[in-house]
C-alpha cells in the first residue's frame, strides 16, 4: 500500500515539480517580489488547484520517504514510527494548504 502510494505520488510530483521549476526560473528573471507572486496567484483557481494537488502529493510522498530512511538506517519500526509519519503527513498537508490559500486570497 505504502509502496504504491509512494510511486503514485512520485508520478504526480514529477509533473508538479517540472511545472514548479519552470515557474521559478521564469519568475526570478527580473527578481522576486511579493506583488509579482501574488499578482500571478491571487484569485487564480488554476494555480490554487495546482498547488493544492502539489501539497497533497508532497504530504503523501515525503513522510513515506522519511519512514523508509528511519526504518532502513536507524532500524526504527512499529506503531510509534507510523504515528510519527502520520503526524508529519497531516502537518505538511495543513501547512502546505495554508500556504496555497495564503497566496490565493
Amino acid at each position: 500500500m505504502l509502496w504504491i502510494a509512494q510511486r503514485a505520488s512520485a508520478a504526480v510530483l514529477a509533473l508538479c515539480v517540472i511545472v514548479h521549476l519552470i515557474t521559478i526560473i521564469y519568475a526570478v528573471r527580473n527578481g522576486l517580489s511579493a506583488a509579482g507572486i501574488l499578482e500571478r496567484t491571487r484569485g487564480n483557481y488554476g494555480w490554487f488547484v495546482f498547488y493544492a494537488v502539489f501539497v497533497a502529493a508532497i504530504a503523501v510522498h515525503a513522510p513515506i520517504g522519511l519512514r523508509n530512511i528511519l526504518s532502513e538506517m536507524l532500524g526504527w519500526r512499529g506503531a510509534a514510527l507510523n504515528l510519527l509519519v502520520l503526524v508529519l503527513a497531516i502537518a505538511l498537508a495543513l501547512s502546505g494548504w495554508r500556504a496555497a490559500f495564503a497566496v490565493f486570497t
Binding site: 512520485a10 506583488a35 505538511l92 495564503a102
Partner: protein, 115 residues
C-alpha cells in the same frame, strides 16, 4: 570476499545516495517554505521583507543549491519510476547520465536567471 567497496563505487550507489540525501534535505526545507508563503496570509509586507532578505548572495547561493537538490530528486525519481515500471532496455544504462545532466542544466538555468 568483501564487495562493499565495489558496490559503493558503482554509479547506481551514488544515485541512491543523492536521491536519499536530496529527499531528506527537501523534506527539512518544506516546513520553512510553507511558513514563509503563509506569511502572505497575515500581511504582504512580511513576505516582501523576506524576499528582500533573500537577495543576499549567500542566500541566492543556497537557493541555487535547493534548486539543484529538487532537480536531482526529480531526475533521480523519474529514473527510478522508469526502471521499475518500464521493461528493461539498454538505454536505461544512460538514464543516470541523463538524470545528472538534466539536474545540472536546471540548476544552471536558475543560477543564470537569479544572478
Amino acid at each position: 570476499m568483501n564487495n562493499d567497496f565495489r558496490a559503493r563505487s558503482h554509479p547506481a550507489y551514488w544515485a541512491f545516495i543523492v536521491h536519499r540525501v536530496s529527499g531528506l534535505l527537501l523534506a527539512v526545507f518544506l516546513p520553512f517554505h510553507f511558513w514563509v508563503l503563509g506569511q502572505a496570509l497575515r500581511n504582504t509586507a512580511a513576505l516582501e521583507g523576506f524576499l528582500r532578505w533573500s537577495e543576499q548572495p549567500l542566500v541566492k547561493f543556497a537557493e541555487t543549491g535547493l534548486i539543484l537538490l529538487l532537480a536531482a530528486h526529480l531526475a533521480g525519481g523519474v529514473r527510478l519510476l522508469m526502471l521499475e515500471f518500464l521493461a528493461w532496455r539498454d538505454w536505461h544504462k544512460t538514464l543516470l547520465a541523463v538524470a545528472a545532466g538534466v539536474s545540472l542544466a536546471i540548476g544552471l538555468a536558475f543560477a543564470l536567471n537569479v544572478v
